[in-house]
Symmetry: D2
Subunit: 278 residues, 4 copies
């Protein structure tokens, strides 16, 4: 199981979410918690929007907790929108091309989950990717192919729809191929640099968790003495696979089978229903 | 806290201890257990005696669990004597020169533990290393300096004595420097290619654990149907920081403040008493 | 341009070819020579037959010249048959899954060269790989796909034939796709642990070089005082992309458009003629 | 031999010097040139001043030419002052803690050269470092110790003087120890975030090269059609171990035994005379 977070709002240093909270993403990657079978030590990535329209990427195949470069970058840069990911490999090699976020022009994508029996489905999944996108698949993870399938199925024009068609395609292929297990487990985060989209879905009954932060104004009223909330901009929102701090009222759970769109501080929740692309 | 194991006996493939047991060293490095605060994902090493008098080394700064090279080697080589180590860094950089085992001519050394406030003591510890050994210190861990101090204090002629004088020196320097915490925590494994030495010691009340396996003949009587014990040679012994399998009668705990010498299947237990070198 | 060597004969330590000669493979990877545009610093690999039927692999994405693990292994192991490769990437990522030799059951494969406009051809080349082999493609290089195509086209039963059909397929696909450049540049080494096969071919007029060593008996007569030739077994042969030492009579050049089979000290030379598989 | 460059002036993207010129630093690290014995493939580093008073660092032990993270960063960040370095190891391990620039509070330091017979001198050089600085030595290169010696001898208050005393100390220790070769070879770059200092010195007759760029106004008059010079700010200056482009009038050579101070577009040249600290 991987872990990830997204931030959108006034510019902050990524360290404020990656390192500073008691259950920061980097701390989660290493410290045992009841939800943790194995550490997230198989590489990590940070994608952020800075001076340019296209996002910048930093990937490493080392554990995030010991990486001095990540610690430097997370304090040096300041960004209004970033995605970070710590990986626990599920069978594919530990290498930088396996690291999230994946990028396609202005888009970034992170994933926590898996395609069941991926080795059996990999060829057919890759064949369904639009041929002109094929050679931009640089690694060998299911996540990267899922992203390219979602683009194939219209993600840039309709992000949630593209993800739904990707999920529907994976499920229908798995059914045709005779995969016995629930084929898809996913929380995903996607952004074009303006809005942050996320979805929580599993073919089976157990879906990996997904949360987003309450609006900053409410948090200030709830915790008037907490300097963190004074510091964050009014429209700031974090989307996380697991809560970064335990604080009543801070986190809203995204229900399984739902997606959210975070736009200028507002969070819209939508149903997420996989369906086979036409 | 690091973890390590040593094996001495008839030649075996290291994978038999590194990968095959339910709580193998590699599994221990990754899977949570009650004794585990953080994973042992900050590099690993394998040192083994093969075709030559001097041992061979394989080190990597990646987590052991995802390393394909280690998996290959552990199945390809066969050795009558090896030491393996998985690291959890305690403040010093994650790099190959920090990886155990450390080697000095025919000797190998592994360590689990730390020198408290090492940054404060480092200069004086390094100064006490015999000047002609100074430039063979290639990394920056406390463990490597402890090994070079033990050599300085006579380890090649008197392994347990050399370790005792090293421990005594560290404790006396810490006292002189005003280190408040108990200064030394250690289990160590040392070998010259013929005997396997190990010690368990802590300046304070809690000492990291150390165990060695019962003699194979007894285990065969205790578990006549277990193929593993039929397979191992009569004089085979494993020394481990934590048990590799839960099996009554398999493991003997080395008491804190004790050392063992494993020689041709026999285990001799000795007191381990740090004392300041003359 | 990559560089590689193969050895077959009485067991030797790989360091005897990797490190010891004046123009050893590792030295070639680093030191400028008139034939060298860029260093071979993008990873390396060693595949060898040891205690088991299947060969062992050691891969790294670091430059070979600074790798302490390779230096250790090359002195510790002794093998009657090995392939070593130093890589200069031609556009695909520097990672272990890009490193040669590639392995398929008992087979090893190394390649020096490229498929022109590989990004354009990659999808169709991968589609032509036998579906049950598809998921064993772990990296993203043209070389790995060439190997899997050769297996698809019968390499295990007919090594040179499998390679010829692979080459024919690449050339015919390139022609169909409108690739303007000569599509294929290759020297390859292949072995099943018993014989060593090699081929030299290019679609255009310039083919990368390939040499094999003269028989040891002749070399002993030619250089009676040279201890190296006294040391090597009578049937020992090396196959190399570039000569390891300058010594008249030592190296035979394999002509472009030719293949060789090295079997028990004998070298058979055959034409290598790509043809499209049926 | 390492290579490095420094830039000071209006903010630019480091890629403009690291990647874009025909003989860019990254190209120099890989492509053969008459002055190049071996590639600079043993790690690299970039240190830059951005949002904070302290500089940020990015280090890697991989070759710079294949590093995707460096390519990203060099295009994403924009900085008025940075130092970049590509390393060719001279005996010490290839690891991130060996990578330049080294940092001490607001200071950055890069070095091209070596201390002759460093293994023999290392202990005495380290002993001469101010004890409270000792534990901030994290790697094992001569360069890092040279930097800490220069700080010990007053670099923060008097940069050129601190370097002269460091050089004098190295030479005098080498003489006392009986080192036969000329003991010191160096070009160094040092900055506190406001000025850029550099020095060129060798104990023997051959000193590694060092150049700085002509003032931008003169270059605009010399090359009125060259868009690069229109783009750079009037006070921009580059200091380089080797010229990045061949263009008459662009580069001034710093004479051996000289130092320069670059301050707000002005370059002051001073003698560099090692002398033993009191």
């Amino acid at each position: 199981m991987c872990r990830w977070l997204g931030y959108i709002g006034g510019p902050i240093e990524p360290r404020e979410l990656l390192y500073d909270p008691e259950r920061s993403l980097i701390e989660q990657s290493r410290r045992h918690a009841p939800d943790m079978a194995v550490p997230n030590g198989d590489g990590f990535g940070l994608g952020w929007y800075g001076r340019r329209d296209v996002p910048a990427l930093f990937h490493s195949d080392s554990p995030a907790w010991g990486d001095r470069n990540l610690r430097e970058l997370a304090a040096e840069i300041s960004s209004p929108l970033f995605l970070a990911h710590v990986r626990a490999a599920t069978g594919t090699p530990v290498q930088e091309t396996s690291c999230h976020p994946f990028r396609h022009s202005r888009w970034l994508f992170v994933h926590n989950g898996y395609v069941a029996e991926y080795d059996r489905l990999r060829r057919d999944l890759m064949l369904a990717v639009r041929p002109d996108l094929f050679s931009s698949i640089r690694g060998t993870t299911d996540s990267e192919v899922m992203f390219h399938l979602a683009i194939t199925f219209g993600l840039p024009e309709d992000p949630i729809g593209g993800l739904e068609r990707m999920a529907g395609f994976v499920e229908s292929l798995a059914a045709d191929t005779g995969v016995a297990e629930p084929p898809l487990q996913m929380t995903v985060g996607v952004t074009d640099g303006e809005r942050l989209y996320a979805a929580r879905y599993a073919s089976g009954p157990e879906a990996n968790t997904l949360h987003y932060s309450a609006d900053v104004e409410s948090l200030r009223q709830l915790y008037p003495a907490d300097e963190r909330f004074a510091h964050f901009s009014a429209e700031a929102r974090a989307v996380v696979s697991e809560p970064l701090v335990e604080l009543p009222g801070l986190w809203h759970e995204v229900p399984a089978g739902s997606a959210i769109v975070v736009d200028n501080g507002k969070v819209e929740q939508l149903p997420f229903t996989p369906h086979r692309p036409d």
